[in-house]
Amino acid sequence: MIEFALRTLPFLWDGFLVTLHVSALVVVVSLVAGVAIGIGFAYGPLWLRFPLRVYSDVLRGTPLLVLIFSVYYLLPMMGLNLQPFPAAVIALSAFKAAHVGEIARGAIGSIARGQTDAGKAIGLTFAQRLAWVILPQAVRRFLPPWVNSVTDTVKGSALVSLVGIVDLMLAAQQVIGRTYEPLPVYVLAAFMYFAINYALSVASRRLEARFAYIRE
């Protein structure tokens, strides 16, 4: 068993790195875009909030796999040919950005109105109030659901194997195709997914503890 694991590990390892790569890109892109969307939701005028609402509801209401296929197969019909990797990253990021946008909206909305009043009263501009008053407090509310969504991203990234990206999932399937030993390979792959997400939740608990001092 151990010998088998050691033999298959190098093949899985490459896939593991691809999974990490895809996940990391998606997490970063969706974080930046999602926070921007959340700020738009919380403070934007109607002409901005309405399209954001449509975007968020449509994306969150569509299966991730459908989104990946849409970007990969539909965009080329409109003349935009994408390689599997960028196509998958774009689809996952767009999907995740909608989720992160809702998390950010909720976190910002949970900060009392009086905080904005107090920021205004000492003469802070909108950007300064966001940077020094609202966002530092919203972070605490934002972190727990966001870390959940990050672990979802790692797991959801397995779907990119369906457009031919050799991530951990597809690498495992390729090894199984050669060894005809599905169970140990899947167990090994599952353990590698778990290792990523366990590391993430440990890191997030540390991070949350750092913000626990804020009491309202």
């Binding site: 009263a121 000492i122 003469g123 501009t125 909108f126 008053v133 530092p136 407090q137 001092y213 804020i214």
Partner: protein
């Protein structure tokens, strides 16, 4: 009276169909402490919040030190609301202390006071720190510089709120029922701080339910009822010798609640 520091003319505001300010005229001179009293819903807090444009006003004019606070351009129906950066500059010179303190809970007492000094006034850190320490000491909190708001009592939090506003060296200070959320035994320490500021010549507009406060801090008392100013005069005129029917009824109700 020379040019008033705050000049309010024909101020009107509605929330939907409800008129909350219906033609307010009020002048506040430099160094004056004007106390605004009146029943809940009479518009006093809204009046205060219009002065630093936490609320916009529909009609009329508010000038602080000669500058129209809410609108740019010449007066008239086509005047346009001020830009965010204009408002920030105007508000920096108008201090406000809130009923629920509204301290920044993620910052220490010292940092609460320093934030505006550094980000708005552009003071170097060391200078901002010195000034913040000075004001926290003035309000009796030199032991609490590193405390977070959550670690302070209500009275202490409110004194940080006062220090935060005053450290900006505003032209006028707006106090919005600043003792209403405090336990009775903590009211005294906050009132003493404000009394000190008033005697130092700080111009202030005080919305309060504390009649004792109105009597000994106010150089002038304004009584508002149903979106209008009903009486305006010295504490003696308004509180001791009230001529207006609704004012007498209001004072009688307050007296009855007194222990």
């Amino acid at each position: 009276m020379s040019d008033p520091l705050v000049r309010i003319r024909g101020l009107r505001k509605s929330f939907g169909a409800t008129r909350v300010l219906d033609g307010i005229d009020l002048d506040i001179a430099r160094g004056e402490a004007v106390v605004v009293i009146g029943p809940s819903g009479s518009g006093k807090t809204t009046l205060l919040r219009c002065i630093n444009v936490l609320e916009t006003y529909d009609d009329g004019s508010i000038q602080v030190d000669g500058v129209e606070v809410g609108y740019a351009g010449p007066p008239g129906p086509r005047r346009r609301p001020r830009s965010e950066s204009d408002l920030a500059r105007i508000r920096a010179d108008i201090g406000m202390v809130f009923q629920l303190f509204n301290l920044f809970p993620h910052l220490t007492a010292l940092e609460n006071v320093m934030l505006g000094l550094v980000k708005v006034r552009g003071l170097p850190n060391a200078e901002a720190k010195a000034r913040a320490e000075h004001w926290l000491e003035r309000v009796g909190l030199s032991e609490k510089l590193r405390s977070l708001p959550g670690q302070l009592s209500g009275g202490q939090q409110q004194r940080v709120g006062i220090a935060r506003a005053v450290a900006m060296e505003p032209k006028v200070l707006l106090l919005d029922e600043i003792t209403s959320a405090l336990d009775p035994e903590l009211v005294g320490e906050v009132l003493a701080t404000v009394r000190q500021l008033a005697s130092d010549g700080m111009t202030m507009v005080v919305v309060t339910h504390e009649m004792t406060f109105a009597r000994d801090v106010g150089s002038r008392v304004v009584f508002m009822d149903a979106a209008r100013v009903v009486a305006d005069g010295t504490p003696q005129d308004v509180l001791v010798d009230p001529r207006h029917e609704r004012l007498r009824a209001f004072l009688a109700r307050i007296e009855m609640k007194r222990p």
